[in-house]
Symmetry: D2
Subunit: 300 residues, 4 copies
């Protein structure tokens, strides 16, 4: 069966689903998103791209931005980053503060919120946030081959106003000496990177470098980012995602997931309804169907 | 470079290492093992097997047995097993009891001790332990194509005498209704399966079904066991193992590691010295060198 | 108003109450107790004793026995006991195992189950459990001035059969080297001491030495046991008990509470219905009324 | 022996001690305090006051202010306060954030930092912080009968600059809806109340209402504040303080302790060196000697 047929079937099956999960509602901009949307897009090794559903609609990539921030932070600091953040699954929710207290302010990995704040702080360095955000957008636009990728300012503003839990994490990190910038400054950059809007078509293209279909960073580094996505990319549901989908992936609370089939495909999927753990419900199911039908699982 | 050359070089490099970690010392039989030993063996898709170092010396496979117990338990119960044990990294040490208390006696995964005890209890069913252990040995001997695989009774006896922490886990599981047999019975089976002795040559052959080089169980099930090994196989160092080695793997406190390159190779390595987390120190390093030189990482 | 009138009124008020909490149901002997019972008894400094309600009915003293076991353990070991158990509120449930793991097998205090098992192990020493239990009964009978105090063997047997959580604690303590006897042996003594049956009349008399109305142990030791009862005697409801009642007290899951007004009175109360935290619901309320009406709070 | 003689002897013994603990060093103003100082002062039921040592030297009362803030908050809200903060020992360090996460932003008691921030937020209400601080100073000056009690602005400023851990707590509380004011506002009031400077002579007089020697608030409320001080006033060393000293007490990181012997005495002691748990080392020892020599323990 052709990939195009598979994607079309999956989009149809997903359209028929009624148990779509709950849309994130902590800020009005996300709460207002129509839960009935679904989009999927796949970039292949042969350079082609196949899509189905609402594949051109931009959505808030939220935590998927952590993958790109990690790539930039590693570019600036290299392996020094790993003295400030570890590479282990946390076994806890994405916004938990528990381990920070018992582990001296060193977050478990770059994808839980605490670790992503440290990563952004590292990628930011001593530059003004604007400069860092410009670099990030340039990276994304270049990776996606599309200039039309922007930050949604209203989303960034809402995140800042309601982000008390992230402020708690940032102040805790600062108290442990694991934040070089003032909490407000690092969080400013963090909230803006989370507010980047992209479509699955743009996102799948932007992820090609992780699938080895585009050379932007060293292969060794790509492998390691993929390993981190596999073990930590879905927080305390990472084990289940690996078990069911069998691909490295990173989810965002906007309902997007970027998944990587190394050497084969970069895949982006989007459906706004979330599971309890904050990952796209239909997005995960669509990816499970996709790997079952394509045999793309990295596990055999 | 040929695989045989690569393995020879790795064995030589490992022989020269002085920082070998600490041999497990909680029972005399493990404490007495010579720390200077190192063996590696690889079974390939073409049916050949290459080895280097002390590849024919039997060692106590310990927690590597959890992989085979899981295969048997899934064979008996199928997906019903997942109502008794989850599929998530714990973020805690292999013998931690913390999550059992806050998570109502449902262990995080089949590879932490609590989860492995549940898995063994499930694989055991209402049979006498002897019958289950006979089935397990038959499975291993058939998978390895070698009748000379046995349980080291002295090791099993020592484990039983000193295994108070595992008794604590088993009674806790029983208190939560997540153990069908009396704690002593299930632990009897558990301690005996951990005391199976194999060489890396035998172990690499026994793992071929997980690499898809031998058909013993359904491919879907193989994929899932590999996913679990990747996310949970090295306890609270699983993230680091994925990051550095890039293969599903399961370690044992006897110093062995079974690693799987799906479609390509089944790999067994052994060196008795352990890291703080209880995984073979040189074994991990040898696998890191091997995947770097062969390009077998599943992450690109 | 005379104490006799106060007690009579309280018994009447309690008889009218319908929200009596749930009777412990983990063993049949406790589950079968009639929840409508209530008894209270008070021994005064002048040597008199006043009682009301079902004051002569024996009930299972359960964890109240921990106070007397502590007195015996201190008698045998003196301050050496404090190297094996601490003197701090745990902030957790009575049967929690969490802190044992993070605090190297040293329980927080002698009244949480883990700490009581250590205390019993210390009081037991190298003697056969029978000998220790005989000493404990002798102590209680002498303190109460009543030979008719016994162990309910059926209760002890049921506790042993269902006590998997206590077995887990004991094995965990053993694994950390904080149990001198085999877990079964110490638990045998522990389950039997919990199964002692007494009436509130007997219990109030047995508690006189803690109120300074009878000299059995050094005054300094009495003070310290009272301090421990105040801070730890009601587990994770100890703060609330101090806040509402204002007296050192120790509860048991059989529905009894022993409370001490130093220099003034030894008080025993019993009503089988429990709160969520496992303390007698009406017992606590009766004590709150009593201290309000007598002004016996130690807090002013 | 007269109280005056006892205090003189204690001051002499303390002057001879070399193991004085470490002075708090997280802000320069506290780090600069001479560790060799010691002062003690006692107000008795007969209206007299006895002091010894550096009893007129002002020091930063820090967390002792939480007692007075609690009195004001209860005055404003009454028992409604208990829906926002509990009355249980936490079993954790004074600045821990762990329980906030697992207990939905409701702090364990008003004396751990999180609970004190909530209490201050409640006492503050919708007023400007200045107004609340003026009320607090008026209360303290009136209770102590001394107009010369002030806020040390330099200490308040330093606390604000370095108080990232308290900012983390406040934002976490805000995220859970348990802070009515913006975190900066409540913390402004909190840091200023902690920066109040008093001598032990002033502090002992200010504590008389808790000993029942002065009527400022209802007796029932006094009893409850004393109960809270006993169970929670020294954080995770509260059990030990009750065990050794036997009085309700509240410590501050400036080295002060206020202790209450209900009906008998209000006691203030000060020595800047701290234990690991952040309580005055010699202060605690001096109180232990005092209660042993006076027989003031509330436990018999």
């Amino acid at each position: 069966m052709s990939l195009s047929t598979i994607l079309g079937e999956i989009a149809q099956e997903m359209a028929a689903r009624t148990d779509r999960g709950q849309v994130a509602d902590y800020i009005p901009q996300l709460a207002a998103v129509d839960p009935d949307q679904f989009g999927i897009s796949v970039c292949l090794a042969d350079g082609t791209q196949q899509s189905a559903g609402d594949s051109a609609t931009p959505f808030s990539i939220q935590s998927i931005s952590k993958v790109f921030a990690l790539a930039l932070a590693l570019g600036r600091l290299g392996d020094q980053l790993w003295s400030r953040v570890r590479r282990e699954p946390s076994g806890l929710a994405f916004n938990s503060i528990l381990q920070l207290e018992s582990e001296q302010g060193i977050p478990r990995n770059p994808f839980v919120n605490a670790g992503a704040i440290v990563t952004t702080d590292a990628a930011l360095g001593q530059r003004p946030p604007k400069e860092y955000l410009a670099e990030l957008l340039t990276f994304l636009r270049s990776a996606a081959g599309d200039e039309d990728i922007h930050i949604d300012r209203a989303v960034a503003r809402s995140e800042t106003e309601t982000g008390h839990r992230n402020f708690a994490l940032a102040h805790f990190l600062k108290a442990h000496g694991n934040l070089t910038n003032p909490p407000e400054l690092t969080l400013g950059a963090y909230f803006h990177q989370c507010a980047i809007a992209m479509s699955v078509e743009q996102l799948a293209r932007a992820g090609r470098f992780l699938a080895g279909l585009q050379h932007l960073i060293a292969r060794e580094r790509v492998r390691r980012i993929n390993a981190l996505m596999l073990t930590c990319g879905h927080y305390d549901a990472s084990g289940d995602f690996a078990f069911r989908v069998g691909l490295p992936g990173k989810s965002g609370v906007g309902g997007g997931i970027l998944a990587i089939a190394p050497g084969k495909a970069s895949i982006a999927v989007w459906s706004p309804g979330l599971t309890q753990q904050g990952n796209s419900r239909l997005g995960t199911e669509a990816l499970e169907l996709l790997t079952r039908r394509t045999g793309w699982s990295i596990f055999g």
